[in-house]
Amino acid sequence: MSFHRCAPALSLAPLILFAFALPVVTSAAHAQTADAADAAGDVPVSLQFAAEIGGEPFACGRSYTGIGRTEGAVAVTDFRLFVSEVVLIDANGQRVPIALDDDGRWQDGQVALLDFENGRDRCDNGTEPVNAQVLGRAPVRDYAGAEFVIGVPFDSNHGDPTLAGSPLNLTSMFWNWRGGYRFLKIDTVPVGRMAQQHGGGHGEAMAHGAAPAGAWMLHLGSTGCTSASRTSAPPGPCAQPNRVRVAFDDFDAATDLLVIDPAALLADSDLGSNVPDTSPGCMSFPGDADCASVLPRAGLAYGDQPGGEQQLVTVRSDAR
């Protein structure tokens, strides 16, 4: 965003400079239709994200080794997530909501889709456009940190995605009415070998041999939602909302990058195997041993384990 480019590379750019810096800006990195403060005095703000796998940049055609306890290499076939409840934290610790833009595509004013897959190579069931930023407006003020949620707010989470507006009408991020959307979807497949012959499926259905466990998928979404049917919205909150709250006290939107990397969550996972009779990988469902070491590292309680510090997102300073 323009004023960020002009701001001194200090840990925090006083946004008040924006109004003075604007006239000399010519190389806005992120096209904004309104570069000035609006009637309410709010100015554009952006959070920039990057996707990585084990510290390496995410790319659809790439193989990754050394992920958790995985022996072989994996490719990642999808990398998308929803972000909402984005706030900036000012010097006094006050949390100031960012009013997200509504562009009819990536953001609907409440939820933003981060989409790092480009529909190519092994991601070819995805979509071509990519989006690595969240755009909105906030009051001019000194800010010290930022906070957001990986997830879709309850009120938006349980409708029919094909009837919703974008980005909540992507069938690929849809789970079901009762459970809502997939908040995070990172899918992996083994590379360079035939898929293993164990741990593939749902039991005796593999009457003529175990099906290969061809994929290990990390899907976060709400579970324990109670409703009249699987395609009815639950009237009350879900028992395990599984929304990941990410907060950084020391974050400068002008200079810092938010890096999303699932490797820390998968430190104890073997992406080449799956516990029989459970979903392939960890899809947030209760009672799946594949999730036991994963969700607590996303900051989410799972079974009788409390949630720890989230390790999914880190700040890389001065990386923009």
């Binding site: 070819d124 069931n125 456009p129 974008s166 992507l170 849809f174 039991g203």
Partner: protein, 455 residues
């Protein structure tokens, strides 16, 4: 529908329309939404967004009328035998009820014709093309394709235009639909009108729609409601690919920010132990030449299955029971013959095709749910019917999906052939007429289940 013909350029899908927002100038995913003209209104329930519409082909009532005449006109084929409706018959929810469709002169196809219900919501067309993104472009495939031959006009477009210009009725229809082009008969107008008509083929009035979107809690049986639970469960895993309003993960509406499409290998075959399907049709691989794309096909909608048997891209499952057998086993075992192999072990299979342990009740419930997706109003909709008198040259020599003799070979599934079926069909149509008449005066009627009428 088309087979293996791939156009070098997608005619329309690469143009970003006004709905492609400022950040996203990535053309191929753009959703175009042209406003209708001449008072056209979408025949849609309020809850359903309209299909996307290309900028250069806004909907108009006159264009839809022209497209309907063209769709049922066998003079669109080189020998006057084959209309679009020959393989996409409204009485069969725009399917043809046979494993493969045949082109003019007995040319053999090798793919199962797909139904056209809600085809306007499909941003990718045919069974396995990653590039064919508009109905306008698609129309060229059956008209001019030669591998396989369908309507047989390759190199003969002027003769085709001549046949249409010679009919006085078309002078009026083209004139009304394309006044700005002086009613010209051309590839442009022909393909635009056919596409406009097909975009009106919306099926959204099944018992399930009345239950889910219409608020009619009684529109589904208890069995169908249990089947819905199973369908949307992690036990059956059906809904991962069969998603949303049209029960497919290839979908876009005028409201979409993205055109989604997906192709899956479901383990129907594994002829070499390395993932191959029978060489006659390897799906997406035939376009991409990417070995891992062997056996990947676009997810078909699950609407109106009562009329779309046989199932799968090659019509290799005669009944829904066989389809469920396939998914229950997590893939199909072909015991012998040239296609022998265990599809459940296909290394390229979608990992969510895991196998399902059905009880007998669960299987019946799932079938009852699928039955609730059948839309008899769609099949009986007079707006989609043949506009030509039977004696008109457009219809005189036209082959029909229900006309066994015209096709000569490729015996249709037993449940469709024969007098009993025809009698049942007549009774069914009569009952539909009665229902349609009663509908205006009565609260929404839950139509009788249809799929299970055809054992």
């Amino acid at each position: 529908m088309m087979k293996r013909f791939v156009l070098p350029v997608t005619l329309l899908a690469n143009l970003a329309g006004p709905q492609a927002m400022a950040q996203g100038s990535q053309g191929a995913q753009g959703i175009e939404v042209a406003d209708p003209v001449d008072g056209f209104t979408w025949p849609l329930p309020a809850w359903l967004p309209p299909p996307a519409v290309p900028e250069d082909n806004p909907m108009s009532a006159a264009k839809v009328t022209l497209g309907r005449h063209l769709f049922f006109d066998a003079r669109l084929s080189a020998d006057g035998s084959t209309a679009c409706s020959t393989c996409h018959d409204p009485a069969l929810a725009f399917n043809d009820g046979r494993p493969f469709s045949d082109g003019v002169g007995g040319a053999r196809g090798h793919r199962n014709a797909q139904g056209l219900a809600n085809v306007g919501y499909s941003p990718r067309l045919t069974w396995a093309s990653p590039v064919l993104g508009s109905l306008e472009a698609h129309a060229l495939v059956p008209l001019f394709g030669d591998a396989p031959v369908e309507m047989g006009n390759v190199g003969q477009e002027q003769a085709l235009f001549g046949r249409l210009r010679a009919d006085a009725r078309y002078r009026d229809l083209f004139g009304a639909a394309f006044a700005e082009r002086d009613g010209e008969v051309s590839l442009f107008t022909l393909t635009r009108a056919l596409a406009a008509f097909q975009r009106t083929l919306v099926s959204a009035d099944s018992p399930y729609d009345r239950y889910k979107y219409g608020g009619d809690a009684d529109a589904l049986s208890a069995s169908a409601r249990r089947g819905e639970e199973l369908f949307f469960s992690e036990k059956a895993e059906c809904y991962h690919c069969h998603q949303g309003f049209n029960f497919t993960d290839t979908f876009a509406t005028a409201r979409s920010g993205f055109a989604e499409s997906a192709f899956h290998n479901t383990g129907l075959y594994d002829v070499d132990g390395r993932g191959s399907y029978p060489a006659i049709d390897q799906g997406l691989y035939q376009v991409s030449a990417e070995p891992r794309d062997r056996g990947r096909f676009r997810t078909p909608s699950l609407r109106n299955l009562a009329w779309s048997a046989p199932y799968f891209h090659d019509g290799s499952a005669a009944t829904l029971d066989e389809v469920l057998d396939h998914y229950a086993a997590g893939g199909r075992l072909v015991a012998d013959g040239p296609d022998a192999g265990d599809g459940s072990r296909n290394p390229l299979k979608n990992p969510l095709v895991l196998g399902i342990r059905f009880t007998g009740t669960e299987r019946a419930d799932l079938l009852a749910f699928l039955d609730s997706l059948n839309d008899p109003w769609f099949v009986a909709n007079p707006a989609f019917s043949d506009p030509w008198p039977a004696t008109h040259p457009a219809a005189l020599a036209r082959r029909s999906a229900l006309d066994d003799a015209a096709l000569g070979h490729d015996a249709r599934p037993d449940r469709i052939a024969g007098l009993p079926w025809l009698l049942a069909g007549c009774l069914f149509l009569l009952s539909l007429v009665a229902l349609l008449r009663a509908r205006a005066a009565l609260p929404p009627v839950s139509p009788e289940p249809l799929a299970r009428d055809r054992p």
